[in-house]
Amino acid sequence: MKTRVVGIIGLVAVVAAAVFGLFVVPADLNQGDAQRIMYPHVASAWLGYLSFGVTALAGLLYLWKRDLRFDAVALAGAEVGVMFTAFAIWGGMMWGKPVWGTFWQWEDPRLTTTALLLALYVGYLLLRRLTDDPSRRATRAAIVGLVAAIDIPIVHFSVIWWRGLHQTATIGDPSKLLHPSAPPLFIIALMSMLTAFTFVWGYLMIRRYQLARIDWQIEEHGRLGRISAARRAAAANAGRAVAPALDARTEEVAP
């Protein structure tokens, strides 16, 4: 029941942070009210990256310990993460149109890196879906997740270098919020939104993990059930006391 508490805290905190960010905090001098979009946008982005770190780490732990529970954590991280990453891109686009005049900007390393992160996530989830055997799926996912995680910082830095040669001063720089000279109320708004989102993230991760475990148990049960049913049928057909020696770990026998 602790999970439910986390969820309720998250719900209340998100509502409070949203009210704060939308109605209490003043608008930005340059960006106007569009600035408010930054709070959920940045929070989503951070949680998207955090989730990917969790997925990569859980995959590494699976490769080391071969415990499928780590794989369940990796799956939870990927699904929750792809959602937050999509939110981050959506928020970035909604902010970009009023402030930049366009939905997209190639020179913003955060936006382009996040888009690539989304692509990596989608590939990871598709890879999982297309692999049936649980341990093979977990292994493949783990190594793909690791290489993808290694790629992210490389992408980020290369886009920064890419941009560095085309310095254009943009009125609305998203990193303004992280600047030490940002107005304190803005920082409070961002931090409260981030904290609230993190509680929700924790709740969603736990629930998705539980769901993954139950899914696996049902899958396993189905598989073992088919094997023992086939074994019984074979024993009955043979009409003798000796049933063929089938190791429960062998591949599925067609009924």
Binding site: L116, A119, G123, L126, R140, I143, V147, I150, V155, W161
Partner: protein, 229 residues
């Protein structure tokens, strides 16, 4: 360093086996080259007929063509291993997994280099690019870019070769990871062709080299897990 020599020997043997298979094969390699050339032609139709625009876009188009054709090439190099359970048999030998990875990556590199050189010539002809004077820089860019592509491609080809939807999964998984390589290779090529007025070439080549090293280590480190399947 007996261990290293043995590993290198194994890698070279695998690479040579792949090369022989390609040379004796059914002209799949030349088909890939023709595919790449057609892609370059189509780029011309898409972005032309203004030759100025094509010349400006040439570095990007060159590397896009290399990437698309490269996907076919590295995919095919792993496909031959699925016949007669060749990969499994390889894995049974008491050799370092990294040697197998190195061997496949080496043959991948050879294929990519051939592709790159031919396409460079094609781009020079089709888009009217003058290559003179930029030879060393172009060669370095091509080499570093192909190493990176082969390193990443060998890994993902190994992951996807046994999947049902492998033709789409290979590009889907690989292209996002290849983005920094593409970015840097195009910039390096453009800089080299433009005479490098700002002295950026070194930075881009360094980025490529760094990418190559990281990806080679990552690929070699994880490839072994694929052979357990």
């Amino acid at each position: 360093m007996n261990g290293f020599r043995q590993t290198a020997g194994v890698a070279l043997t695998i690479a040579r086996k792949d090369a022989l298979a390609e040379l004796r094969g059914k002209h799949a390699a030349t088909s890939t080259l023709f595919f790449a050339a057609i892609v370059l032609l189509l780029f011309g139709f898409a972005l032309g007929p203004d030759s100025r625009r094509l010349q400006e876009a040439a570095p990007g188009l060159l590397w896009l063509a290399i990437v698309f054709a490269g996907l076919l090439a590295v995919g095919r190099l792993h496909l031959i291993e699925t016949q007669d359970a060749a990969l499994e048999q390889l894995a049974l030998y008491p050799i370092d997994r990294r040697a197998i990875y190195a061997g496949k990556a080496l043959s991948g590199l050879a294929a990519m280099l051939v592709l790159g050189i031919v396409l460079l010539g094609a781009v020079a002809i089709l888009y009217g690019i003058d290559l003179a004077g930029a030879w060393p820089a172009l060669a370095a860019t091509l080499l570093l870019g192909c190493i990176g592509f082969a390193a990443v491609g060998t890994f993902y080809a190994g992951v996807t070769v046994r999947m049902a939807a492998r033709e789409v999964m290979l590009p889907l998984l690989m292209l996002p990871v290849i983005a920094p390589l593409l970015l840097a290779a195009v910039k390096a090529t453009a800089t080299a062709l433009g005479g490098d007025p700002f002295g950026e070439l070194g930075a881009w080549l360094q980025l490529l080299a760094g990418y190559d090293i990281v990806m080679l280590i990552a690929g070699a480190g994880t490839y072994g897990f694929l052979l357990e399947e």
